[in-house]
Every structure is written in C-alpha cells, then in structure tokens.
Amino acid sequence: MKQTVQFKLNGESIQIEVEPHLSLLQVIREKLELTGTKEGCGMGECGACTVLVDGKAINSCLFPILEVEGKSVTTIEGLIEADGTLHPLQRSFVENGAVQCGFCTPGMVLSAKALLDQHPKPTEKQIRLAISGNLCRCTGYIQIIRAIQAASEQ
C-alpha cells in the first residue's frame, strides 16, 4: 500500500506516493532521481548519504520516508544557486583540494553546512567532530577540514 508524503525538497514543496518501508535515500535516488546523494554502506556507518532534514545532518539511508512529512529536506542539489553559483562551502572544497574521488563529498559538504549554519565560526575540533560520521578514504580529511575552515572565515 502506497502512502502519500508531503515535504519540502530543496525549497520546493512536493507530494509523492511511496511504499512506506522505503528510506529517504531510496526515494531521493530512485524515485526522484537526485543521484547526488550517495549510498556508501546502507547502514548509517559511512555518511555518504547525508542530507539535511530541517537543517540537521542525518543519514538518509536510515531515515524512514514517512518521517519527512511536513519537514524540509536539503540535498546536495539544493546548495547550488539558481544561476549556477556554487555555495561557499562547495567553492571552498574545490579550491582547497578537498575532493578526490568525490564519493563522500556531497555528504561531507552537507555535514559541514549543518555545522556552519549552527556555528558560523567553529573551532577545528568542532569541524572534525561534525564530519566524523562522514568517512573519506582518499584525502585523509586534512584538506576537507581546511576547506571548511576557509569557508567559515569568509
């Protein structure tokens, strides 16, 4: 039995019919074809599927779709401005070499956004903690931490 769920996705109100057992990640990637959100493990352990729900970073692979009813969801596709301008965090990731294979990047950027929205001038420790649920195998995190610091200084 499909159910209707209504929520805001990247600023736009949407209403869709979904199987209630699906995760937010499955709906985003498969029904809505927003493939910027990645699945790295499907068990809430790697953070590649991180999106923002009402401004908080969550693992969308564990988030039941019906739980988003009436909430506001931001995916990586929602960060870029209408004219194509990158979000300052995205620009900072590019300029600071924070991106290698890029599979963790969307989730990493969104965890960083949740942090900066709450703490515009975070300490290094706060940055490390905020992205400690987002695994990266390429970069050793150093340039990611720097990118977030640089974005927070703008």
């Binding site: 927003l34 493939t35 910027g36 959100t37 990645k38 699945e39 790295g40 493990c41 499907g42 068990m43 352990e45 790697c46 590649a48 995916t75 990586i76 596709e77 960060l79 870029i80 990158l86 995205q90 990731f93 590019v94 300029e95 600071n96 070499g97 991106v99 290698q100 294979c101 890029g102 599979f103 963790c104 990047t105 969307p106 950027v109 940055i127 490390r128 903690l129 992205i131 400690s132 649920g133 987002n134 695994l135 990266c136 195998r137 390429c138 970069t139 050793g140 995190y141 150093i142 340039q143 990611i144 931490i145």
Partner: protein, 765 residues
C-alpha cells in the same frame, strides 16, 4: 629556474565542481533502459564439494530473467594464474566463491531469488594457515595444481620468487651485529567509498559494452575479449566505458568474477545487467592486501654500515590468484635497494589457502616489506649503539649508485627527506627518553618513473585542437580521484602555452582513448604526463607551422600565450589562436591540427634473476612521527606527523599533498587499527562498525614536505607519488612506539591489546 605558468600551481581538480554539486555520475548512478539487476550467491563453506544446485524455485519467481551456475555457462578461466572462474562448479575453495547468479527486474527480486537457490555441499577439510598449507598431506585447494621438481600436487604456487645478489653468508660473517626477527602483516582492504559495480550490455551483433570502475581499461578490455572468445563469440568487440570512479587504490587492477557474471547474464538475457556490491560484499568479496609472514635478518658493522639483508616470506595467496601473487616483485625493491646494502637474498612463497584471495593495494607489497626492514633497522641501530637517524644517514642511497638489484639511482633526495623529518621532529631533543612519548622515522624507495611489469610500460595520448582553440587531450590514463585529469591538463597547458581552462581531458572510453597499461606503480603523472607532454610538443609545432603561414613569420619566432599566437620579435604580428585554427581548416588543402604520442619509458623488465633497472627513476621519502602511548590503556596518540617526499617536481602541490595526506591516513590505519578479521576463512567484520578506518576526529595533523630533485626524465621533472605516502607509515609509528615505551610490536595492526600484552611481558622479565 624556469618560470612555469601552469606547472607547480595549486589548480583545483578538473572534475571537482561536478563532484561538489553531486553531478558526477558513478557506476551506482548509471541506468540503462531495460536494465536488469544481477545478484550473486556465495559459498556457505570455506572448502566443500558441490553436490547439487537446485535453482528451480528461483527460476519460477516472477521477475527473474536468468539463473546461472557453473554448470550452465561456458568455461571461462581468468586471473594472473588462470585459476579462477566466474561461477564455481565441482567445488568451492573459499567463502567468497561464487556459486550461482541471478538477473531480475529489480534488486529485491534478485535478492529473493538468490535466497531460493538450494546448494548441497559435501564438506572438505579446510586449511587457513599458509605454513600448514605448505606441509605434506595438507588439504589441497586445487587438486590438479602440480608443482615442485616431481610435479606433485601442492598448494605452493609455481612462482619461484628469488633474488640473490652478493653473498649473504659472507655478509653475515663480516657483521658485528645481526638482528633476526619474524614480522607478521595481515589483511587490510581498500574501503573505496563507492563500492564495486559494472553494467554489461550487448549490441545486436554480440559486441560488448561494459561500464566499469577499472584502473586498467586496456588490459580489462583484453580480459573481456578473451572471455567473449570462451563464450563462442570470437572476433567480437569490447568497449569499456569508465564511470566516475569512487576510489580504487589498486582494487581495480584486475578483472573479477562479478564482471564476468554480469557479462554472462547480459548475454543470456539480451539485456543490460547491472551488478553493484553491497558494503558487506565490498568487504568480503573484494581482494585485500595480502597477509604475510616475514623472516628477516640484517647485519651491520660497528660503525653502522649495513652488511647484508636476508628475507624469507610466506604469503597467503588465498584460494585463487590475482596480482597479489606478484607483489614479491615489488617487495624486492625495498629489500634490495632501500639503503645501501651489499649482500641481499630474498625468497618468497605464495601459498594457496581457503582464505580470501588477495590483490594489489597501494604500495603493492612495499608497505609489508618496508614494515619489516625499517622496524628492524631501529633494532639493529640500537644493538650497535647508534642513533637510528645517524644509522639511516650513513646507509642512505645516493645519486649514481647501482643497487644490488641493478637499479640505477638517478635523482635521490633521501638524505634531504631524512634531514627534514629529523629537524621537524626536533629529533636529538626528543629521542630516547622512554617517558611515554617517543619519536620514530622510516624511509621508503618506490618506482618513480613507472615500472616495466609487462612488456610495455607505455601510454598513448592524442591531442587535437578545435576551431576555437580548445585543446582536447585524449589519454589512455585513468583518473580515479588522484588527479590524473588535472595534472595531464597542466602539463599540456604548460607545453603548449594555452590556458588550463582551455584543455579538456578525455580518459573514459576505450573506443576513443589510446592504449595504456593502467593506473598502477604510481606511473600516471610520469608516463601519461610524458606522453601528453610529447604529444603537446608535436601539436605545438603544427600550430606554429600553420600560424607562420598566416602571420608571415617563421615558426621559431612564434610563441603561444593567453589564446594568442604572436611573434617574439615583431609584436604587430599576432592572431587569436582560434583564428589560426579556423584559417587552417577553412583553406583549400587545409590542415587539421592533431598529434599523437606513445611514450614508453626506458624501463627494463627484470631478468630471470629479477634484476634490472625496473624504473628510470625512483621516488624516496621519510615519514617521522611523535607519539604518546598511554601505558594503562595501550592507546597510541600521534602528536606530530611529518611526511617528506622526493617528488621530482610537484606539478600540482595541492593534489600532491592530497596524495600524501591520504596515503599517510591509510598507513596510520594499517599501523594501528585496520584488519580484515578472518575466522576460519570467513570475514567476520564486513562493515565500518567493526572494520575501523580513520575518521576526521582521529586524523593527526600531517605536515607534507616536498623535496624537489627535478628529475631529468620526468615531465617537468616530476616523479610518481601515488603510492609512497603510505609505504613507511607503519614502521615509523612502530619505531616511535618503541622509543616511547620500549616495546616492539612486530605484527600489524599495533592495537592497544598488543601493546598492553607486550608491556606486561616486559615488566615480568
């Protein structure tokens, strides 16, 4: 020194914008209309005869389009030793053995179908310890595998790794001190954030297109072409298209059963078939770095001069043979050539067991060998009463040296690396206190100019310039996140005099891209870079030739910069690059500006004695660590991490530092926490909860120091840097732990449990 415009600059990775916006398309994101989903049933036992496979229930399930087993597919043999098959018949030799596969209209149905397949097994005695597996009477993994002089059934592979240079017994006799130890290293896995996957599709003429994550497009194309022949499709074509690769680190240097299974399912169903690994599969069904038992002896004179190095190894090959079995060829490099050592012997055996089979992983054997060598160098220095820093400086490689393996040392910044690390760690002040804080260092040698593993070490490049001055670089190289796309663009932009944003690099399609041996041996910047540079040189000659006609100036006086061609002696003579190109195209008897170059470095294949100048240049480096060890918990805290590397030249310092940071982070994991735990052949920690990799909270601040030695063979002086970052990490940390608390851990990972046990043993003495 020459002033460069593009080389040496911190230019962002070419595809970083796609990746930060979520627009990059990985294999996970690709869909083809009508596509089916493939799923694999793995063995339930480490060693068993297959008595029967009942697929009838699975076949009846609505939505299932094909069910394959080893009994209804053609025989396809693949792998370095040709001992692997896509689906196993007769018997299974490890838990990751593929027993059956399904294609269905969605992944859930495929999964359900897999669960409906019933397999009857007769259990066979397994063997998990390679030393046990070598013994007479041990269970045989492959009964038809014969070896030794008598050609008897054996688990020991017929790959006699043996390097002898000088006379180690003589060296031993002349030693004032000799250290002898056994070291052990275990399985660690790549943990690519994007799991493995592919999509196979046949056209109506039976030609295959496969979308893949591979690091070896040209070699994989050959493997799959052979598979088509085995399927009765001789002469059919294979086109391989790479999606954005979500990490590789050596894991994609071979072709795997799942790829052949996707091909077989696609051919059977006449539909595109996609297989994507779950994270659990990624942990247990991909090939880790090999486990090894390392017996090593080294000696020195009273003054610290090394006298000999004698190493014996047993490598756990697992049940099948991938390139992991050839890692001893790379282990030979540090064993023979890290520091000056006159007498060297190395013997290694690869042994079949019922464990998972291993593969290439960043460093390709070098991290294992270097862990043993560099840990023991500290022990030897201590025996001789010499500061390990002085010990290393005394024996450090120098330019002009020919090593026992006949490597010709060209540019070599090893001493500079050691010095830089010592200085940054304040070595003399901080060493030798045994107060819970300690410093340690370890060095590395690695190939820096590719490595002639195959007959060819080449890479092709095609460059064409369009009507508007856009430079299309079509390369055989593979970008898997390391930045090959960007570095190649910088090299071409520098050589041609064009802007980096006017260079577009294509590297994803075997129908378009020229041949390349693969993204291994840290070779891409060097080999693909040189190839691109030389193609660019040819293109530039053509461009200036064309421009000379329209500008009435001899080519020698022309230069290109900022999208303009201009005369160096007459500033009036200039023209936009695009206009020059258009003039060339829109002319009777016109000309297209395009060039190709195939660069194959002057590297030598190792001869029958495994000697020869494998690489035209070598990369060196030293890592230094300061640690604090909590004696009550055994916890190791890294206070300072210095990574100094001789890189020839940093074409892109930002991307290069990314390689060093990422390598060191992997190396720290290898040293302290990572371990794929196999319990009687079964991976019991197939998830990130139980297989720990470093998080952003764990990573220490790493300082990357770049030593530029401007290699005469490298593109603008560059050497390879992809792998070196993790090679000396584990021994540097082990040495620092010893300096801090006086215990030496000789098996990886160095967990708090091992440290506590060692401290307890020390106290009880």
């Amino acid at each position: 020194m020459t002033e460069f415009i593009n080389v040496g600059k911190r230019i962002p990775k070419s595809d970083a914008q796609e990746k930060v916006t979520g627009k990059a398309i990985y294999i996970q994101d690709l869909k083809i209309p009508g596509m089916l989903w493939g799923k694999i049933l793995y063995s339930h036992h480490p060693h068993a005869r297959i008595l029967n496979i009942d697929t009838s229930e699975a076949e009846k399930l609505p939505g299932v389009k094909a069910v394959l087993t080893g009994y209804n597919i053609p025989t396809i043999k693949f792998g370095f030793y040709k001992d692997n098959t896509p689906l196993k018949s007769n018997k299974v030799c490890s838990y990751r053995d593929e027993v059956a596969a399904v294609a269905a209209i969605d992944p859930d149905i495929a999964e359900e179908a897999i669960n409906l397949i019933k397999v009857e097994y007769e259990l066979l005695p397994p063997v998990f310890d390679p030393e046990e597996a070598m013994k007479e009477g041990a269970p045989l993994i492959h009964e038809d595998h014969l070896g030794g002089k008598e050609k008897k059934p054996t688990n020991i592979l017929n790959i006699p790794w043996k390097l002898v240079a000088g006379d180690v017994e003589e060296g031993r006799k002349n030693s004032d001190y000799v250290a002898e130890n056994r070291f052990k290293v275990t399985w660690v896995t790549h943990c690519c954030m994007g799991t493995s996957g592919c999509i196979a599709q046949f056209d109506p003429r039976d030609n295959l297109t496969i979308y893949s994550n591979t690091q070896i497009p040209s070699l994989a194309q050959r493997d799959f072409t052979e598979a088509l022949s085995a399927m009765g499709l001789q002469g059919k074509k294979v086109r391989l298209i790479k999606a954005t690769i979500g990490g590789a680190f050596g894991s994609k240097l071979d072709t795997y059963p799942y790829e052949y299974i996707a091909i077989l399912l696609a051919h059977r169903t006449r539909k595109p078939v996609k297989i994507i690994f779950s994270r659990e599969e990624e942990f247990f069904a991909t090939s880790p770095r090999q486990a090894a038992i390392i017996d090593i002896a080294q000696g020195c004179k009273k003054d610290g001069t090394l006298t000999f190095r004698d190493v014996r190894m047993v490598l756990d090959n697992g049940a099948y043979t991938s390139w992991g079995a050839t890692t001893p060829s790379v282990m030979m490099m540090p064993i023979s050539s890290l520091y000056k050592v006159p007498h060297v012997r190395y013997v290694a055996k690869c042994v079949y067991t019922n464990n998972t089979y291993s593969q290439a992983f960043r460093g390709y054997g070098n991290p294992q060998a270097t862990f043993a060598i560099e840990s023991q160098i500290d022990s030897l220095a201590e025996m001789a009463g010499i500061d390990p820093l002085d010990f290393r400086l005394r024996n450090a490689n120098t330019p002009g040296e020919v090593t026992p393996q006949r490597f010709k040392v060209g540019t070599c910044g090893l001493r500079e690396c050691i010095d830089a690390v010592a200085q940054r760690l304040d070595w003399r002040q901080n060493r030798g206190k045994r107060d819970g804080r300690g410093v340690g260092m370890a060095s590395l040698i690695h190939v820096g100019g590719g490595a002639r593993v195959y007959k060819s070490d080449g890479c092709g490049t095609i460059i064409k310039v369009d009507d508007f001055g856009t430079v299309n670089v079509i390369t055989g190289a593979t970008d898997m996140g390391q930045g090959a796309d960007t570095v190649i663009a910088q090299i071409v932009a520098e050589e041609l005099g064009v802007r980096i944003q006017d260079v577009v690099v294509t590297h994803t399609d075997t129908d378009i891209c020229p041949w390349d041996v693969g993204a291994h041996a840290s070779r891409t910047t060097f080999v693909a870079g040189n190839s691109a540079k030389m193609a660019a040189k040819k293109v530039k000659e053509q461009l200036l030739e064309v421009a000379s006609r329209s500008l009435g100036e001899v080519p020698e006086n022309l230069e290109i910069r900022d999208r303009m061609v201009f005369s160096k002696i007459d500033p009036e003579k200039k023209s936009p690059l695009g206009k020059v190109l258009r003039a060339a195209h829109y002319t009777t008897g016109g000309k297209m500006v395009m060039a190709e170059y195939f660069y194959d470095p002057p590297n030598e294949n190792l001869d029958k004695e495994f000697k020869g100048n494998l690489s035209v240049t070598y990369a060196y480096g030293t890592h230094g660590v300061e640690v604090e060890v909590d004696k009550t918990t055994g916890q190791v805290n890294i206070l300072k991490y210095i990574a100094a590397h001789d890189v020839g030249r940093a074409v892109n310092p930002m991307l290069l530092e990314g390689q060093v940071y990422g390598g060191a982070a992997m190396g720290i994991g290898y040293a302290l926490m990572e371990q794929l735990v196999l319990n009687n052949g079964k991976v019991i920690n197939p998830d990130f909860r139980d297989y720990k990799i470093l998080t952003a909270s764990d990573i220490p601040t790493i300082e990357a120091i770049t030593i530029e030695t401007d290699d005469p063979f490298g593109p603008f002086g560059a050497k390879g840097i992809g792998e070196p970052g993790l090679v000396p990490t584990a021994p540097a940390i082990a040495n620092a732990i010893y300096d801090a608390i006086g215990v030496r851990i000789k098996d990886l990972p160095i967990t708090p449990e091992k440290i506590l046990a060692a401290l307890k043993g020390k106290d009880s003495k």
